[in-house]
């Protein structure tokens, strides 16, 4: 579905992404994992055209991304940025329905879709007329998810969707996410720095360090046979969870 070929990106002196090859097959959940600053978000941004690689290419369904197709491609991708990115001046309903409004859907069409998504994300309908600042962190993430799912995209890109949540809510949302993705058969690329989360959600895991892929493949493979010292340390650091 999405394929990165030998992509590199440099910010000033820093090589954020260094000649990476990555494939995200249709209907699978690809998890990018690694320490903070290793280039996970930059990779995700490349997939939705927010960052253009200095070299290499990004393919969406086998076609390279270009200016002309970008907008239509973006409407087939649901992207949830790290902080949620809900617009503070719009209510929950307006946030969710912003793209339909841009595309001039009938309001009734949006309402039907919103109702479906409320059910899917288990968000109370009473929250629709609130502003983002009147929501809890977990509620905000559910709203971001709804917005990303609004056009029923083929691909979901999620950048640390559960980043700042407390453990209880986090566990609950992880459950929900897994159900949603499996049920809808989405192609998912999810960024996290949490090993347990990766294990729970991933079909495939990619461990990154300093803009390079360290190890890629099955989650159990990563745990059982870390390829190098860094991978071993990374796994070791979060080991207690699996004890």
């Amino acid at each position: 579905m999405i394929e990165l070929r030998q992509v590199s990106k440099r910010f000033g002196h820093q090589l954020a992404v260094d000649a990476i090859d990555l494939t995200c097959p249709k209907g699978q959940t690809q998890v990018l994992i690694g320490t903070s600053g290793c280039g996970k978000s930059t990779l995700l941004r490349m997939m939705v055209g927010l960052v253009t690689p200095d070299s290499g290419s990004v393919l969406f369904e086998g076609e390279p991304l270009d200016e002309l197709t970008l907008d239509s491609v973006r409407q087939r991708i649901g992207y949830m940025i790290q902080e949620g990115g809900l617009f503070p001046h719009l209510t929950v309903r307006e946030n969710i329905a912003i793209v339909p409004r841009y595309l001039r859907w009938q309001p009734s069409e949006s309402d039907v879709r919103i109702k479906e998504l409320l059910e899917l994300t288990q968000l109370p309908i009473a929250l629709l007329d609130r502003y983002p600042r009147q929501l809890s962190g977990g509620q905000r993430q559910r709203v971001s998810l709804m917005r990303a799912l609004m056009l029923d995209p083929d691909v979901m890109l999620l950048d640390e969707p559960l980043g700042d949540l407390d453990p209880m809510i986090r566990a609950e949302l992880q459950q929900d996410l897994r159900i949603i993705f499996r049920e809808l058969g989405k192609t998912v690329v999810l960024v996290t720095h949490d090993l347990a989360e990766a294990g729970f959600l991933a079909d495939r895991v990619t461990l990154l360090s300093h803009g390079k892929i360290v190890q890629q493949g099955d989650f159990s493979e990563l745990i059982a046979n870390p390829v190098d010292e860094f991978a071993a340390k990374f796994v070791q650091a979060q080991r207690p969870v699996f004890a």
Binding site: D71, Y79, I81, L90, I98, Y102
Partner: protein, 513 residues
């Protein structure tokens, strides 16, 4: 978003509302000093006595009023021959009084014969000094080298002042000090000095009973009062010109000093003083009853609001797009912000004078009520706060919102109108509020080009040193500024999207549904 459309339309209607009709009839101009204002009133009242309607507007500065006459925006105004020679025709060498009619005729302007008094420099002494020392002329001073002379600093420096006066009259005096003109009168009164410079028609001459020494060597240039009027007036209203020319040789120095003194002592308004003179000299009776204070304040409020609405609203429509451009194209933004910033540093009178030519070129009213010069100046002054706040408001939107909008596939224009501008709206509104309050204050300067409003009593009050008159303009202006401020505070609650308003206690609780 429809809200903004409604407001935009409302503002558009508001700015297109017709403004009060321009002053009717023959327009008489004058400068801002009391003496010419009195003469301007005389001209106006004389014209009215023929049955013609006429309005008097006093504006700031010789060039402003002369240009207005040249362009036909006013029909007549009082001037001094010396000013014509030294200021208007300063670029032409050695103009004599005899040449003035032909020079002025090139601009379609006629000049009356002198009105009978010369408002020039003179030297003044106390009456008892004059009597004791038998002083009659400036030449007589040469016999008294011990006298103490106190001159205004300007008089000491000017070419037609003390420097050459002492040479021409061979005056030996050593004890010469420079001081403020107003201080000289006081010093002379308490006998700290014996001789001072004065204007031959100063009101204080009568008050302090001073004697002017005759300029027996004709050293000082003459500043004979004359009336300048459009030559075509002769054809249009011949009887009216005859009437005005009655003033020729009709006002001598004691008479004008008396009139100036009455106005300075706040015994009579300029209008009243002029009316009394016309009644006594020409048996012309004028209806000069002033409207009540309340109706005057109301009238000025209308005039003032007119200036504000016609300058502020276009500034809003113009500045917000400029601010958007400045935010989106930072290079061009530097130039835009620089340009509107520079406008802010131009002093008001200079800006007004600079604008007269382009406004006249566009065939718009340069002076008088509803003067486009004033409106354009206020428009320019209002730009900076709005442009700057729009640009900063847009530039300081947290980048994650931009990233979300792009990733959602929204177009740039949709994003501008539905995301960026609403997010920047608190800042933009604050800019408009600042501009509005500044505008109300600056609008008082419109009176310099006769645009009336609250500035009119302030300017008159300043020239007459009349505090209560100044207050009649300053207090309502302050009230209007405060009122606007309050209106904006309230409209913020409506205009700023609810999700961006500061949290109130009740809102921060999660609402119950």
């Amino acid at each position: 978003m429809n809200r903004y459309l409604v407001i935009g339309l409302l503002l558009l209607v508001l700015v297109l509302l017709p403004s009060g009709s321009p002053p009717a009839g023959i327009r008489v101009g004058s400068k801002q000093d009391p003496e010419t204002a009195i003469l301007g009133e005389m001209l106006t009242q004389l014209i009215r006595s023929t049955g013609q309607p006429s309005t008097h507007l006093s504006v700031g500065g010789t060039t402003v009023v002369f240009d207005a006459l040249r362009r036909g925006e006013i029909d007549a105004y009082p001037e001094y021959t010396g000013t014509l020679i030294k200021e208007i025709f300063a670029s032409e060498a050695d103009v004599t009084e005899a040449q003035l009619p032909s020079l002025l005729a090139k601009d379609g302007i006629s000049i009356s014969r002198p009105l009978g008094f010369n408002n020039s420099y003179a030297l003044a002494v106390r009456r008892e000094t004059a009597e004791q020392l038998d002083l009659k002329t400036i030449s007589d001073l040469a016999d008294h080298p011990d006298m103490r002379l106190g001159f205004s600093n300007e008089f000491i420096d000017r070419d037609d002042g003390w420097k050459n006066l002492r040479k021409v009259y061979s005056l030996p005096h050593e004890r010469v000090s420079g001081m403020e003109h107003a201080v000289s009168y006081r010093q002379l009164e308490v006998q700290d000095i014996d001789v001072m410079d004065a204007y031959t028609t100063d009101a204080q001459l009568a008050e302090l009973d001073l004697v002017l020494l005759e300029d027996d060597l004709a050293y000082f240039p003459r500043y004979d009062a004359v009336v300048l009027y459009r030559s075509d007036l002769q054809n249009r209203y011949p009887e009216l010109v005859d009437k005005v020319l009655q003033l020729e040789s009709a006002i001598d120095e004691p008479a004008i000093i008396q009139l100036n003194a009455r106005v300075a002592a706040q015994e009579a308004s300029e209008r009243q003083a002029a009316a009394d003179f016309l009644r006594d000299e020409f048996s012309v009776s004028s209806d000069i009853e002033d409207p009540s204070l309340a109706s005057q304040v109301w009238q000025r409020t209308l005039e003032h609001c007119d200036l504000v609405r016609r300058s502020l609203i276009p500034a809003i429509f113009f500045a917000i797009p400029l601010g958007v451009i400045a935010a989106k194209l930072p290079r061009l933004g530097q130039i835009i912000l620089g340009a509107v910033g520079i406008v802010q540093t131009i002093p008001a009178l200079a800006l007004l004078v600079l604008l007269i030519a382009p406004v006249a070129y566009l065939n718009l009213n340069t002076i008088g009520a509803g003067s486009m010069t004033a409106v354009v100046a206020l428009f320019l002054y209002s730009l900076l706060p709005i442009v700057r706040n729009t640009a900063t408001g847009l530039a300081t939107i947290p980048p994650e919102y931009g990233e979300s909008a792009t990733a959602l596939g929204l177009s740039r224009s949709f994003r501008l109108f539905h995301i960026d501008l609403p997010l920047a709206s608190p800042s933009i509104l604050a800019g408009i509020k600042t501009a509005a309050v500044l505008n109300v204050g600056f609008a008082t300067l419109g009176a310099l080009v006769g645009a009336r409003g609250y500035g009119q009593p302030i300017l008159t009050g300043i020239r007459l040193n009349n505090t209560s008159l100044i207050m009649q303009g300053a207090v309502p202006a302050a009230c209007l500024a405060i009122l606007l401020q309050v209106v904006f505070e309230y409209s913020e609650r409506w205009l700023v999207p609810a999700g961006l308003r500061p949290l109130s206690a009740s809102e921060s609780d999660v609402p119950k549904h």
